[in-house]
């Protein structure tokens, strides 16, 4: 059943940068202050808070509680969202449920992370014994394996991956919040000659980890109007799946949980792929964009590269892609990263895209990806459809 009762009625974002020396609290406070400024909502009206679990606070199980203290908030609903790159979308969905359940009326979904200041990642589990001795230490090695299998089954067109990187870079050039180091034009030659990190994964297929924070305000349509808020994006569909293929040792790793949740999110929103005006997929690596174009039905399976080459993905194009530059070109603010493309989608729908404004931004599909398991595809998959 379609539901149009809950909205995102505000957004904010700090500048994204490296070596800021700031903590997740400092950055979170900046995003919170910006959100209060841009919405005019008084702090006392906020009675719900969802905080993305942050790598820079990974040793602290009370991060969300400490964040309440840092922001001077006294929420009647608090959530620590531990879904990695899906924490922001998951936070929005959980906030919507909490609002419908009467736990709170006005929730802030906040992502803030500062790996450059404190890198407290300690994933433990199987990594020490079964991954680290092989040298497959981080996401690039896992994505190198994934890309190699995709290439084996379907072929890879590197110019298509390059086009994603270049299109998003051109969007980042128009985004004042994007990491300054990345705000330089990029050519196909530069992409193709960027060094291999984990073959066939190149440096310019990857995100650069940065620091930053973002926030959205989630409330009911009625409450938003009572608060005097005029601009809002309706949350019409959400779907989530974790550990797809987790009980199949021989799962096809070129399929992810997105292949399962795509039909659910479209059905809930009463939409089909052709209806989608803007696509804001989670983009830690360019191949993730290609695979999601297929899994959400924009391109046939195995033909994502052809679709990219044949389609104008710029903010002026047929399917605008990550119009703020995405994580690949605006910078990945750690585990606040899942909020980056969400905030851009809302910004566009509010008509505040400035030089990169999409014409008729009537709806958006935003996705999330969280964590990479042993030898498989990513773990957490989320999708959100917003409507004007």
């Amino acid at each position: 059943m379609k539901q149009h009762d809950i909205v995102i009625a505000g957004y904010s974002e700090t500048k994204i940068d490296q070596k800021t020396g700031k903590s997740a609290y400092e950055l979170g406070g900046e995003a919170f202050d910006l959100l209060l400024q841009s919405t005019g909502v008084p702090k006392r009206a906020i009675d719900g808070l969802s905080v993305n679990a942050a790598i820079s606070e990974a040793c602290n199980p009370f991060f969300a509680v400490f964040m309440c203290d840092a922001l001077g908030l006294t929420p009647s609903w608090l959530n620590l969202s531990g879904l990695g790159g899906c924490s922001s979308l998951g936070g929005v969905a959980r906030a919507a449920s909490a609002i419908r359940d009467g736990q709170c009326e006005v929730a802030v979904v906040l992502g803030a992370d500062a790996l450059g200041t404190f890198n407290r990642s300690m994933f433990g589990a199987w990594r020490g014994e079964f991954l680290e001795p092989t040298g497959a230490l981080g996401p690039p090695a896992a994505f190198g394996l994934l890309m190699s299998r995709y290439e084996h089954q379907f072929g890879l067109k590197y110019e298509a991956l390059g086009k994603i990187a270049i299109t998003q870079r051109e969007h980042a050039l128009l985004n004042d919040n994007a990491c300054p180091k990345l705000r330089k034009p990029l050519t196909m030659q530069e992409y193709l000659s960027s060094r291999m990190i984990a073959d066939p994964l190149r440096l310019l297929d990857c995100v650069m980890v940065c620091e930053g924070a973002n926030a959205v305000l989630v409330t009911s349509e009625a409450k938003a109007r009572a608060l005097g808020l005029k601009k809002m994006a309706y949350i019409t569909g959400y779907a989530e799946l974790t550990n797809f293929g987790g009980d199949d040792p021989l799962t096809d790793i070129t399929l992810s949980g997105h292949s399962q949740i795509a039909s659910r999110v479209f059905e809930r929103a009463g939409r089909k792929p052709d209806d989608i005006r803007m696509f804001h997929p989670y983009d830690d690596f360019t191949i993730a964009v290609v695979m999601q174009l297929e899994e959400y039905g924009f391109a046939p399976r195995g033909k994502g590269c052809d679709y990219v080459l044949a389609t104008d993905l710029s903010f002026k194009g047929k399917l605008p892609l990550n119009t703020g530059g995405g994580q690949i070109s605006a910078g990945q603010p750690g585990l606040a990263g899942g909020g980056l493309n969400l905030v851009e989608a809302v910004r566009q729908m509010f008509g505040e895209g400035g030089a990169r404004q999409v014409a008729d931004p009537k709806n958006a599909l935003v996705t999330g990806i969280g964590m990479i398991p042993y030898g498989r595809n990513w773990s957490v998959n989320t999708a959100l459809i917003l409507e004007q």
Binding site: W126, G128, E132, A136, G144, M196, P249, I253, Y374
Partner: protein, 137 residues
């Protein structure tokens, strides 16, 4: 030239992995097996991923299989000194389970998906054995 440092991970941290390490010391690749479903699983888990039950045992596998995915790690990191570029592969074993490891006997550029592999043994610090693979032509 000094041998590269290959840190030995702490055993038995995540779940009970002692049979894996005891097997490695004896030159055997020993993986977790679900008695109810008759299927292997790797990495080891606290329960069967097939049934959720703890009716598990450890069994030796052949170490024979096929390369399912492959990459070449080129960026430095802990334990990678002197090993780059490094061939990292996902091997699909004949027993129906996948394992990530290194190919020891080929230039990384010459490793391809679909190649047949057999078990080989790599050495971590203190001579500790760790499973790896070699190409079977």
């Amino acid at each position: 030239m000094a041998e590269p440092k290959r840190p030995v991970p702490a055993e038995n941290v995540f779940v009970d992995t002692r049979p894996f390490w005891a097997g490695a010391r004896a030159g055997k690749l020993v993986l977790q097996f679900c008695r109810d479903s008759g299927k292997f699983q790797h990495h080891p888990r606290p329960v069967s991923i097939h049934t959720g039950r703890r009716n598990l045992e450890w069994r030796e596998v052949s170490g024979k299989g096929t390369i399912y995915a492959r990459t070449i790690v080129r960026v430095p990191g802990p334990g990678l000194e002197g090993r780059l570029p490094l061939s990292v592969v996902t091997v699909e074993l004949e027993e129906g389970v996948r394992i990530i490891g290194n190919i020891l006997d080929r230039r990384p550029e010459d490793v391809r998906i679909g190649q047949r592999v057999a078990l080989a043994w790599d050495k971590l610090d203190r001579g500790v054995c760790y499973p790896a693979f070699k190409i079977v032509d």
